[in-house]
């Protein structure tokens, strides 16, 4: 059985299910908007300093609202014990992981697609095309670590509390890189000089953690 076909089937199933219930994306989009609102009280939205930290603020929004989606990734399989059926099926661990990661990535991108224009409007920021690769790479880092830890904590008590506690310290390098790059690019810089180093860090992080997650997922789910 082709692992890729299995991964796609799982991703498709997640997205179809989410499309009908919209449970995770609704909550995440609302949360993103709420964070944007609250941040506007902490930082004067159209001030000079805020423009300088815009990159950082954006990723705070993405990272925090993202946990609502990432938490659900494996938790949604606990209903009806569907997780057992997935583990019992002849699906290679990497295919199950990638299927989940792809569907989570799609949901995260939906949330970001909604919050990005709102962010630009609220904070008077002009969006540039160059931030797109950074957003994709940074979101993938969030997703890979989030899905891996979602699998890790699926049977752990206090799962919703445990997940943010575990993923944020792990994501520090990726978040720093994404924040710095986004800030620099929104400021008009291009992919040159220091930005290349940050980009390399982000890509390296993505590769290392994707490899780690794929190789450890079987142990996490079965033991």
């Amino acid at each position: 059985m082709s692992g890729v076909a299995a991964a796609l089937a799982i991703a498709r199933k997640d997205l179809r299910s989410e499309l009908r219930s919209k449970e995770a994306t609704n909550a995440a989009v609302s949360f993103a908007l709420v964070i944007l609102l609250i941040l506007s009280f902490a930082f004067e939205p159209t001030g000079e300093e805020t423009h300088a930290i815009a990159g950082g603020l954006l990723w705070i929004v993405f990272a925090f609202s993202g946990t609502l989606i990432l938490n659900r990734t494996f938790a949604r399989e606990l209903q009806n014990d569907a997780l057992e059926a997935l583990i019992a099926a002849p699906v290679p661990g990497w295919a199950l992981f990638l299927g989940k990661a792809v569907s989570s990535m799609a949901m995260m991108l939906v949330v970001e697609l909604v919050s990005l224009p709102v962010f630009a409007i609220f904070y008077g920021v002009t969006l540039v095309w160059t931030v797109i690769p950074v957003i994709l790479l940074g979101t993938w880092a969030l997703v890979v670590v989030g899905v891996a830890f979602s699998a890790l904590t699926v049977n752990v008590q206090l799962r919703e509390v445990m997940l943010p506690l575990l993923i944020y310290p792990t994501l520090v390098p990726a978040l720093i890189a994404s924040m710095v790059l986004t800030g620099n690019l929104l400021d008009g810089q291009t992919f040159s000089g220091d930005n290349i180093t940050w980009l390399r860090l982000l890509v390296g992080f993505d590769i290392i953690y994707t490899a780690l997650a794929v190789s450890l997922i079987d142990i996490v789910l079965v033991g």
Binding site: L165, L166, V172, I176, V180, L201, G204, I208, L216, I219
Partner: protein, 225 residues
């Protein structure tokens, strides 16, 4: 037998520590730029090295647990991580005091201190997650995976924060090069603290062993009922 070894080790470490402190506080001269506060380096630096040593031990034991399903390895992993976190906190607190004395601020966001803070959070997550898992095999497995994730993150965290700091310069705690007598004092204190740390790990190991026995006896009692 085992207990005696722990006591002896701890005592030796404590004696070495006292001897070192005599050396550090009363024998060595003040440093040119920083005055007396630099002496904190003899605790600040070894604490960091020892913390990472124990985190590395935890990594090895985590891999050993996954490979051999040895609960002994799992016990050493959690004991090492706990003591490692304690030493990491010592590093943070001494760094904070140092910064307060030199720069007048309690927290300097120096890249090393920031990175150590992230590492503390990583392993704090490990320590908080463990009690939330009731089945010992699953607890060992998931903790082992977490330990691997955490240790792989350590170098990446250090590099990324350091790189970030070069672009956003801030206060730096200078450790610099040390003259011979100070370098030796550093080494001696490292050994003393390592001995104490190891004694603490062994003590923690025993309590972990007892805890597991209680768990299994409880399980056994419930079944027979």
């Amino acid at each position: 037998m085992r207990e005696k070894f722990i006591y002896v080790l701890g005592l030796l470490g404590a004696l070495a520590l006292v001897a070192n402190m005599y050396n550090i506080f009363l024998v060595l001269p003040d440093e040119a730029n920083q005055g007396a506060i630099y002496r904190i380096i003899f605790f600040h630096v070894p604490a960091a090295i020892i913390a990472f040593t124990f985190f590395f031990v935890a990594l090895i034991c985590s891999v050993a647990f996954l490979a051999f399903k040895s609960f002994k390895a799992d016990a050493i992993a959690v004991a090492s991580t706990e003591v490692g976190v304690v030493f990491a906190l010592v590093n943070l607190v001494t760094g904070s005091i140092w910064g307060r004395n030199i720069w007048g601020i309690w927290w300097t966001w120096d890249y090393r201190i920031t990175s150590m803070f992230v590492c503390v959070l990583l392993y704090l997550g490990y320590l908080i997650m463990r009690p939330a898992i009731t089945d010992p095999t699953q607890r060992g497995t998931l903790s082992a995976v977490l330990s691997i994730f955490a240790f792989c993150d350590v170098p990446i965290v250090w590099f990324s924060i350091r790189w970030w700091r070069t672009q956003h310069p801030g206060p730096v705690l200078e450790t610099g090069g040390l003259p011979h007598n100070m370098a030796m004092a550093l080494l001696y204190n490292f050994i003393a603290l390592l001995m104490i740390g190891t004694a603490l790990v062994l003590v923690r190991l025993r309590s972990e062993h007892v805890q597991r026995e209680i768990e299994s006896l409880r399980r056994l009692a419930l079944v027979e009922a």
